[in-house]
């Protein structure tokens, strides 16, 4: 029994003999309910005003936002009034939780509703509920499936990026001069805005008439270097550009792992006469496995959001060969104003991501357990 209590105890255990009078508790409750009441009144006024039932109200919903913030503060303050010391502890995570709920969960619920409506901004009808029609449309939309297929290619490219990053991290960790210089230089591509990279690399260096990369390719013997006309090469180019910006992130994470390797084990292996390759295969790689897998998972998370450079450089072309899901949905919004359908696509994408990441993380955990 006492053991269970031990577990339930906070890591930072505070004895708080504070007595809270019923009056304070009541005050706390009144505070919450009165601010909630205020918010409800403002909300109702605004709804009625928008439905043109009453002729007074506000220009927009902002007063509701202010009263919502007031309500949130009242809840936070009342926690302290009602629960004393325990309430103060809750205050640590309360702002972040409230913030995420109000800016993610509410819009998401609304988005879920939109995704089952037929809402085209260019038509005058406004939105109307159309059940699963969007879903059926998605099932027969070759471009959406094509963009999902592209995402698989893009994610597989992570493995190549990982190999390059691992090699560079190993080299940075070896006995070299000027490590500080190399580390700073290798970091720089990550700092560049994808928008700037789109122009600097995608639009100017890969320019087919006088871009330096095109000139270089001509010098190598490729007579008509075009980087965005054939589907395969265009996709490969986008992969390279994305890899260029994100390899530094992987280098940093892997290098941190390499520097934390136990020195004694490496020394012992060296004394035993292991050569570099066997040392890498039998010692460094197995020990680095957790760090490697974390790096891969994080890189894949970033890869799933890939959009900026595609939107700017190719806009998904040629023929959707470089489309990521995000860039495809953006075109659905921007070019066809098909808001309801686009939102459904994004929610389907979110569900696929959640399934994929759950499987991936479970797989990674199982692999780690088997390895150790």
């Amino acid at each position: 029994m006492s053991e269970i209590k031990q577990m339930e105890r906070d890591p930072l255990y505070v004895v708080s003999p504070s007595y809270i009078s019923p009056k304070t508790k009541r005050f706390g409750k009144i505070l919450v309910w009165s601010s909630f009441f205020l918010m409800s009144i403002i909300g109702i006024i605004q709804i009625l005003y928008n439905l043109e039932k009453i002729n007074f109200g506000f220009n927009n919903w902002r007063p509701l936002l202010y009263s919502y913030i007031l309500w949130a503060i009242a809840i936070g303050y009342s926690r302290v009034l009602i629960y004393g010391e325990r309430g103060k502890r809750n205050l640590f995570i309360f702002p972040a939780v409230m913030f995420i709920i109000s800016i993610v969960i509410f819009p998401m619920l609304f988005g879920l509703y939109i995704s089952f409506t037929d809402w085209n901004l260019s038509s005058l009808d406004g939105r109307k509920f159309n059940g699963l029609d969007n879903f059926y449309q998605m099932m027969s939309d070759p471009y959406y499936w094509n963009s999902l297929k592209n995402m698989i290619y893009y994610i597989l490219a992570v493995l190549v990026e990982f190999a390059i990053a691992f090699l560079l991290a190993l080299l940075l960790n070896s006995q070299i001069k000027g490590r500080k210089f190399f580390r700073v230089v290798f970091l720089i591509p990550l700092m560049l805005s994808p928008v700037a990279v789109s122009w600097m690399v995608g639009k100017s260096m890969l320019e087919q008439r006088f871009g330096p990369v095109a000139n270089f390719a001509r010098w190598l013997g490729w007579e008509t270097p075009t980087f965005f006309s054939s589907p395969e090469i265009a996709r490969l180019t986008m992969m390279c550009m994305d890899a260029w910006t994100f390899i530094p992130l992987m280098i940093i994470m892997l290098l941190a792992g390499l520097q934390a390797l136990p020195k004694e084990v490496l020394e012992a292996a060296k004394v035993d006469g292991a050569n570099k390759w066997t040392m890498f295969k039998n010692i460094i790689f197995p020990i680095m496995l957790p760090v490697s897998l974390t790096t891969l998972v994080i890189r894949i998370i970033f890869k799933l959001k890939l959009a900026d450079i595609i939107i700017i450089v190719t806009a998904g072309g040629p023929g959707g060969a470089t489309d990521s899901v995000t860039s495809f949905i953006v075109r659905e919004y921007r070019d066809r104003s098909n808001v309801g359908y686009g939102t459904l696509l994004s929610f389907v994408y979110l569900i696929l991501i959640i399934i994929f990441m759950t499987i991936l993380i479970r797989f990674v955990n199982r692999w780690l357990q088997r390895a150790s």
Partner: protein
């Protein structure tokens, strides 16, 4: 003797190979920046010939910077592009620093709470709450895009600084929590316990004892957030139009307009990147620390 010579030769080649690969990658990292920097000084003729080296191949001119109003002879004169550019620059700086500060404050509170106390909200316990925070990382911005757009329109937050700050805070908050949780776990609890015995409150202990210890970690989280917000394009393109427009949106809109001159684009792209390149050089230690934080402990 022969064997020793062979070993020396092998080591020598190995060194050459290592430095060769490192220098090749250095070249790959720096060339685009070099190219952009030189292009901003080129005239139309030098651009179309694809010339590479200033003074040797072509005579540098302040082409791109003149149009931006930042060249030596235009810097003290009236210039509309410069006004525009500076307005965007300050928008970006203000939005990203405020959002990062907000995220660091809220995120470190949450991370501290999670590392020190056991919470229970309904079925949610500490691991669930942590997961709730970190799961925001995998949320692609495109899912939030339209719902937030509609919400912002109703709240009259479109194209306002505060609206941008809120959404940016959201995107970087999970990263702060992720970094800071490890930082707080590394601080021994006994330190605060001693302070509490001496009569400090929980919040007092946090600010007086723990806060100074994790300050470097906090700084790296802040810098990381700053970088991410500075470069963010997708949401900014959606939410802003004139007042709160950020630099990436401005640059992107100029890329898509066909008539824009190469030297202009080069100058403006470089101006967008320049602050962060400087940051990379001077703050490398903090940036690396922030990114490496999650890798080791997972």
């Amino acid at each position: 003797m022969v064997a020793k010579g062979f070993v020396m030769k092998k080591e020598f080649f190995e060194k050459i190979l290592i430095y060769g690969i490192l220098l090749l990658w250095t070249f790959i990292c720096l060339f685009p920046i070099y190219w952009t920097a030189t292009t901003s000084f080129k005239t139309a003729a030098s651009v179309t010939q694809g010339l590479l080296i200033p003074w040797l191949d072509f005579e540098p001119a302040w082409k791109g910077w003149k149009n931006l109003g930042l060249s030596p002879d235009t810097i003290f004169t009236e210039s509309n592009p410069r006004e525009e550019f500076l307005a965007r620059f300050f928008n970006t700086a203000f939005i990203s620093s405020t959002a990062s500060a907000l995220a660091v404050i809220m995120g470190s509170f949450a991370a501290y709470g999670l590392s020190r106390f056991n919470y229970k909200f309904g079925f949610m316990r500490n691991p669930d709450i942590s997961f709730f925070f970190l799961s925001q990382l995998i949320l692609p911005p495109v899912v939030l895009a339209l719902p937030v757009l509609v919400l912002y329109r109703e709240l009259d937050l479109l194209d306002t600084h505060i609206g941008m700050i809120l959404i940016y805070t959201l995107t970087v908050l999970p990263i702060v929590i992720w970094i800071m949780r490890d930082q707080f776990n590394a601080v021994p609890i006994e330190l605060e316990e001693a302070a509490l015995v001496d009569g400090a409150t929980v919040w007092g202990g946090f600010f007086k004892i723990v806060f100074p210890i994790v300050l470097p970690g906090l700084a790296s989280a802040f810098i990381l957030c700053l970088i991410l917000c500075w470069n963010e394009y997708f949401l900014a393109a959606l939410i802003t139009s004139t007042d709160a427009k950020t630099m990436p949106v401005m640059v992107a809109s100029q890329i898509s307009s066909q008539s824009i001159k190469w030297w202009n684009m080069a100058a403006i792209s470089l101006a967008l990147c320049f602050p962060l390149i400087v940051a990379a050089i001077f703050l490398e230690r903090y940036i690396v620390k922030g990114m490496a934080a999650g890798a080791i402990k997972g």
